[in-house]
């Protein structure tokens, strides 16, 4: 089907520009920008007057909960939520049940996506070790050929630094991107809140910043040793940003992201044991939040992600230390991003680049770009839509949000994946 999107303000995260222009797609690709290709006949015309046209968002850390925990979320429910929020590509870490450590699980997930209607592109991140146990390596070549775009041990530790070194070396041999969430499991202990005055006042088991930075320092040294191209996910500390900045200056092949909520919330927001704000890594101090923001602006932190973790209501209906960490964040990723531009942290094209072309580039996936010949993954936003964030209105199965009651500006009107309309707000 040919689509003509007319009169929209095209936000271009590649050239960091915004232009009022038209976009033309065929059943798969972008075939024209500004003027249609010869003999183009639109089957459908979308009037995007007063609307923004951006590449579909690329979210590098999303838990769909399927396979394994379908009471929290399913491929169908979560990809529909992604589509409704302008996310057209998402990466899922290997800690599904069963673990993504063999090609059958990869196929199961892709089959699930097509059965659910292909609301977005799903990219799988394979396990670095079998069953994420940190002992034996996975068949990385097999995972790569089945479509895994990267390898990770998710939240699980390696049995030893030796195994981690071998895993990174072997991945490098196959030119696979390694993704690490830096975490020293001993220093994390059973903590559930950032170590500081707030955790002391609330009497909560605490997580010091060294639980992240000690692991990150070691991981960066292993990058230097092995040469494995490595992406560090969901950083939370000011010192981590400094360490990545230094590693990049030293020419190491590293990139980094942080979760969107870390740019807005701090440990002060825990209030009276608000379990909706229990996350791992924890919400940290205002200084950390500012350093993360600075890192996003200067490019030390390459991209932003949702770190989406939907939960059933009972998972958070208990005292704080017993609640499950994580927030449902597909529904808040874009409005929070737009807020960063509203606050003047970056221009709109710059903000959008952190959610489109930047993650697409480092993950090596064809997305995040509205040039001719690229995939027609497009999101059309009504910037004048004002609404109150309410978990009950989320498309995601998980209603667990720390942003309940926030005022948001800007809402997705239409989402197009590979030239096909997968979401329309009026539908």
């Amino acid at each position: 089907m040919n689509i003509h999107i007319k009169n929209g303000l095209l936000i271009d995260p590649v050239n960091l520009s915004q232009t009022k222009t038209d976009v033309y797609t065929d059943g798969k690709l972008i075939v024209g920008v500004g003027k249609p290709p010869a003999n183009f006949k639109a089957n459908q015309t979308i009037d995007a007057h007063n609307h923004w046209v951006i590449p579909g968002l690329v979210d590098c850390q999303v838990r769909l909960r399927e396979p394994g925990q379908v009471h929290k979320g399913t491929i169908e429910s979560e990809t529909q939520a992604a589509a409704a929020n302008g996310i057209t590509s998402l990466c899922i870490p290997p800690d599904t049940q069963p673990v993504i450590d063999n090609t059958a699980v990869v196929e199961l997930i892709h089959h699930g996506n097509s059965k659910a209607g292909n609301h977005c592109h799903i990219y799988t991140i394979g396990a670095l070790s079998q069953n994420l146990a940190g002992e034996q390596l996975t068949n990385m070549a097999g995972l790569k050929s089945s479509g895994c775009i990267a390898l990770s041990n998710a939240k699980q530790p390696f049995n030893s630094n030796l195994v981690q070194r071998r895993a990174m070396e072997y991945a490098e041999g196959h030119k696979m991107l390694v993704i690490i969430q830096p975490r020293d499991h001993d220093l994390y202990a059973n903590g559930c809140a950032h170590e500081g005055a707030i955790s002391t006042r609330l009497g909560l088991p605490s997580i010091p910043e060294v639980a992240e930075t000690a692991a990150l320092a070691k991981d960066i040294e292993l990058v230097a040793q092995t040469g494995a191209r490595t992406h560090f996910g969901q950083l939370s500390c000011a010192r981590s940003v400094d360490m990545i900045r230094q590693a990049k200056a030293n020419g190491l092949p590293v990139t980094a992201d942080c979760a969107m909520h870390q740019l807005f919330l701090t440990d002060h927001d825990l209030g009276e044991f608000d379990t909706s704000k229990l996350t791992i890594p924890p919400l940290r101090s205002q200084l950390d939040r500012q350093a993360l923001r600075d890192g996003v602006v200067d490019g030390t932190i390459d991209c932003l992600c949702s770190d989406h973790q939907p939960h059933e209501i009972d998972a958070k209906l208990c005292p704080f230390p017993s609640a499950e960490p994580g927030i449902s964040s597909l529904d808040t990723l874009l409005p929070l991003a737009l807020r960063l531009a509203e606050e003047g942290l970056m221009t709109l094209p710059e903000v959008i680049s952190r959610l489109t072309i930047n993650p697409a580039k480092l993950l090596g996936i064809p997305a995040g770009n509205l040039s001719i010949g690229e995939w027609a993954d497009i999101c059309i936003i009504d910037p004048d839509a004002h609404y109150l964030c309410l978990g009950q209105d989320f498309i995601s199965k998980g209603k667990n949000t720390p942003f309940e009651g926030w005022d948001f500006n800007g809402r997705v009107k239409t989402t197009i994946v590979a030239g096909r309309i997968v979401y329309n707000s009026s539908s």
Binding site: A197, S199, L202, L204, E272, F273, D314, P319, F320, S322
Partner: protein, 317 residues
């Protein structure tokens, strides 16, 4: 902090008693004054008043406790309430029932007040947020957060012996990091206007940022005890050695154990307190514990009156 809203009703009266933080001087003073009026009851031959007649109090203890549980039971009985005590660390929760279901089930027995002790910080707040309107929640210790009735009986003891808080230097000694009692005491002493609150402990037992609660830090016991009027010892739990927080009980006693010689660094009329149960020879020498400056047994007696006060102020509103 919006803690006031959860603990106080629209008239500023105690609805729940979850923590000292967020309460003000008039409320704490009212608790102490009410407790004062109950001390005479506990000394009578017939130790009962009918304030809570017809009311039912459920003591839910998810952690083992002897003295707190017993004094809550006695306090409720002396106010003529019916008392149900459940030791849940061995019961429902081990069968997989959620805390919310436990609340709902016990609430269905027409309970007017929950007294709860639970290993999770914030569990009393959780209860207070989920009980029916009109049901009160008393925190008998939540994780490492607060133990407000213990702190108030300590304040009662201090006021009994020292009258005025404004001139007092108070030292709290021991495992501050894991102590809910210490946190509640610090809040209470600051609200009641104590001249200075000190915490004395090895660095591994001092939590990060504790000074933001309004205390001065000492790593040396002799220095910390100088000019002090009230000495509060905390219990040292044996498992702290296993967590590599301390090398040995012996070294701890050598550095932080309260001996008569060290107590002499404090003011001559200083009183010695301990929330119990004490480890003789670990944090405190037997001769000090049984000595003339010790008011440890009075604390236990006052504990009943203070708990009666808080129960009557919340349920008896």
């Amino acid at each position: 902090m919006s803690k006031n809203n959860l603990q106080l009703d629209e008239n500023g009266k105690l609805k729940h008693f979850l923590g000292i933080e967020g309460l003000n001087l008039p409320v704490l003073t009212e608790i102490l004054d009410t407790a004062e009026s109950f001390t005479s009851v506990t000394e009578r031959t017939v130790k009962k008043v009918p304030i809570l007649r017809g009311k039912t109090v459920a003591n839910l203890f998810f952690e083992p406790s002897t003295r707190t549980r017993s004094t809550f039971e006695l306090a409720a009985q002396r106010l003529s309430a019916d008392v149900l005590t459940l030791n849940l660390n061995t019961s429902a929760t081990s069968k997989g029932e959620s805390l919310l279901d436990t609340i709902r089930n016990i609430e269905a027995m027409q309970i007017d007040m929950f007294v709860i002790r639970h290993q999770d910080s914030g569990s009393a707040h959780f209860f207070a947020q989920h009980v029916k309107p009109g049901v009160s929640v008393l925190n008998a210790g939540d994780g490492q957060h607060e133990h407000p009735t213990q702190a108030m009986l300590d304040m009662f003891t201090i006021r009994h012996f020292k009258k005025d808080f404004s001139q007092l230097r108070v030292a709290i000694i021991g495992d501050i990091a894991h102590s809910r009692v210490a946190r509640s005491q610090i809040h209470a002493l600051n609200i009641l206007g104590a001249a200075e609150v000190r915490v004395i402990a090895p660095k591994t037992l001092l939590p990060v940022g504790i000074e933001s609660l309004g205390v001065h830090l000492y790593n040396n016991l002799e220095q910390g005890l100088k000019d002090v009027d009230v000495v509060i010892m905390l219990r040292l739990q044996k498992e702290r050695m296993r967590g590599a927080l301390l090398p040995s009980e012996k070294e701890y006693f050598n550095l932080f154990g309260l001996t008569q010689e060290r107590l002499n660094c404090a003011n001559p009329d200083a009183i010695v307190m301990h929330p119990g149960p004490a480890n003789r020879g670990v944090e405190i020498e037997s001769s000090v514990m049984d000595g003339p400056q010790s008011v440890i047994l009075q604390q236990v007696t006052f504990g009943i009156a203070v708990r009666m006060a808080v129960m009557s102020m919340t349920v008896g509103r």
